[in-house]
């Protein structure tokens, strides 16, 4: 199947700063893809190049098979972008903005779909309000609505939940999940790694303009599986000699033991029982995306 987004050998320089170096990336249709990285890693630059807002120095990008520069009309018809900045046109109301935005994409009489996105994004009360009168969270919803007026098969959200309250974040993610289930390809950047972990099936991590990891979410986290650990609070507060080689840390009166797989749990517990040591508290620590992220950002020194 045609990839939703195909990025080939993209390089981008701003003066002396190499913002992106040889980026190769294919995102398949139907994926829920996370583009992660610290500030300044090049996420927004990459998104801007895909959206045609920024021109690359070399390389090519195709959206649903259409080149974003030579065939920009088709590429843009297939793409909806929610920009990171809270931008709005102060001259118009929410509904006017959405009708105008549909018109830009050549769609007449889009009222039905516009009503639907207004409702699904909880904007009904504000549909007749001027953009200036809206709170930050409401403006964010309008941005999402604007990106969806033309029902694009590919949707990019650049930090859609930055500075957004919990309720909107949940509404928003539920909506985006639904869009993904309906077959839309979704690409997002976020600093909330637990969001990405909960929703995305594949991840690319960018650092200093390069992709340093690109894998399925579970593979990426799975690679950290050796980092599982077990924390125990014991009575009496001592670790049997057999278990001491496993100790990696003491945190707040708890022993932290490294475990390679969960079958070890049984033997650890039986050792404790035979040493007549009681377990007062037990926590199992599993690596999450944040550990992967921190690990990659620290270790990768190229």
């Amino acid at each position: 199947m045609l990839p939703a987004i195909a990025v080939k050998q993209i390089c981008k320089r701003y003066g002396n700063v190499q913002a992106l170096t040889d980026i190769d990336l294919e995102i398949q249709q139907g994926e829920f893809f996370a583009l992660l990285g610290p500030n300044g890693a090049g996420k927004t630059t990459l998104i801007s190049i895909i959206a045609g807002l920024t021109l690359a120095n070399s390389g090519s990008v195709k959206v649903m098979g259409y080149d974003v520069t030579s065939d920009y009309r088709h590429a843009r018809l297939n793409l909806g972008v929610v920009p990171q900045e809270l931008v709005f046109d102060p001259f118009f109301t929410v509904r006017e903005i959405l009708h105008i935005q549909s018109g830009y994409y050549g769609i007449k009489g889009n009222a039905h779909w516009i009503d639907e996105i207004i409702e699904r994004l909880d904007l009904s009360d504000k549909a007749g309000a001027n953009m200036r009168a809206l709170s930050g969270g409401m403006k964010r919803r309008v941005l999402v609505a604007q990106a969806l007026v033309h029902k694009p098969p590919v949707i990019i959200l650049d930090e859609p939940t930055a500075g957004v309250d919990v309720e909107l974040r949940q509404t928003l993610w539920e909506f985006v999940r639904q869009l993904n289930r309906d077959g839309h390809t979704v690409v997002l950047t976020t600093h909330y790694l637990e969001e990405a972990e909960a929703m995305c099936n594949r991840v690319a991590m960018l650092k200093a303009g390069k992709i340093i990891a690109l894998d399925q979410m579970q593979n990426l986290i799975g690679k950290m599986a050796g980092n599982n650990s077990l924390r125990l609070r014991l009575l009496p507060d001592q670790l049997p000699a057999e278990l001491q080689p496993l100790e990696i840390n003491r945190i707040g009166g708890m022993y932290e033991l490294r475990i390679d797989d969960y079958t070890q749990l049984e033997s650890i517990l039986s050792l404790l029982r035979s040493a007549q040591i009681q377990v007062l508290e037990m926590q199992l620590q599993q690596p999450d995306l944040e550990d992967v992220f921190v690990n990659l950002m620290q270790n990768d020194e190229n």
């Binding site: 701003y14 801007s48 959206a51 045609g52 807002l53 920024t54 021109l55 920009y72 009309r73 088709h74 843009r76 018809l77 793409l79 972008v81 920009p83 900045e85 931008v87 709005f88 046109d89 102060p90 001259f91 118009f92 105008i100 935005q101 549909s102 018109g103 830009y104 994409y105 050549g106 769609i107 007449k108 604007q146």
Partner: protein, 251 residues
């Protein structure tokens, strides 16, 4: 075409929604010029045979109002969208560069014509004006507004800040307008200034426009038309090139 008409509609609505500020207010200063110059100069000058100074002045002021507002419309629209960031919605859309260009220019022409018409109608209350050929009048005001609309686009795209736009307006547009013969016929100027005036494309817009009212002008309206048309084509090419290469718009 829907995309193009939507952008045009949006650009028209943008100034229409604040029409007091964009159409009525800009009529004030040309009418004040008319009042002042009329009182100061009425007795002194007969510009063309049978054409008294205020009658001569009115087309100049109408044209000035039209082209200044055409420039103001496209330049302020672009720089406001650029600075507030909402230009991104146009840049993300599948609108072609030509569609963007023509929509902005037509909106600029519309505002120019409305303000120009307003000044003309108010002046008609107080002065009698001949109107030899509405065709030439309309042709020159449309072409002049189109050129200034395109210059406004260029200025809006080029300027990063409002003060840069103000500089463009004050150091380029305003002198070219005031020195183009809005207030005088260039035959009244010393020879050196006359030559300089002939290098000013704005001179031909105003001279041709005036021909439509009086049937008399400093130079042939056909020459003026050719020069104005060439300027429009050249400036349009430059503007479309800027849009196509993404100059200052797509980094």
């Amino acid at each position: 075409m829907t995309g193009f008409f939507t952008l045009l509609y949006k650009e028209l609505l943008r100034f229409w929604k604040v029409s007091f500020q964009t159409i009525v207010a800009p009529m004030v200063s040309p009418l004040l010029y008319l009042l002042i110059f009329y009182h100061v100069l009425e007795a002194h000058v007969e510009v063309y045979p049978g054409v008294a100074y205020p009658t001569f002045l009115i087309p100049g002021l109408v044209m000035m109002a039209a082209i200044q507002n055409a420039f103001a419309n496209s330049s302020s629209s672009v720089i406001q969208s650029k600075i507030s960031g909402n230009l991104v919605f146009i840049l993300l859309s599948p609108l072609t560069y030509h569609e963007i260009f023509i929509a902005y220019i037509l909106a600029a022409i519309a505002r120019g014509l409305l303000v120009g018409l307003g000044v003309y109608l108010v002046a008609l209350i107080f002065f009698e004006m001949p109107l030899q050929s509405p065709f030439w009048v309309l042709l020159f005001v449309v072409l002049g507004s189109a050129i200034l609309g395109a210059l406004g686009l260029i200025a809006g795209i080029w300027a990063d800040k409002f003060d840069q736009l103000a500089a463009f307006q004050n150091f380029i547009i305003l002198p070219l307008t005031f020195l183009s013969g809005v207030f005088y016929t260039i035959h009244s100027l010393p020879a050196g200034w006359q030559i300089l005036s002939h290098l000013n494309p704005f001179f031909y817009m105003i001279d041709g426009f005036r021909y439509g009212f009086f049937g008399v002008s400093d130079i042939s309206p056909y020459i003026s038309l050719s020069i104005v048309a060439i300027c429009l084509v050249a400036i349009s090419y430059l503007t479309i090139w800027m849009l196509r290469t993404g100059y200052k718009l797509r980094h």
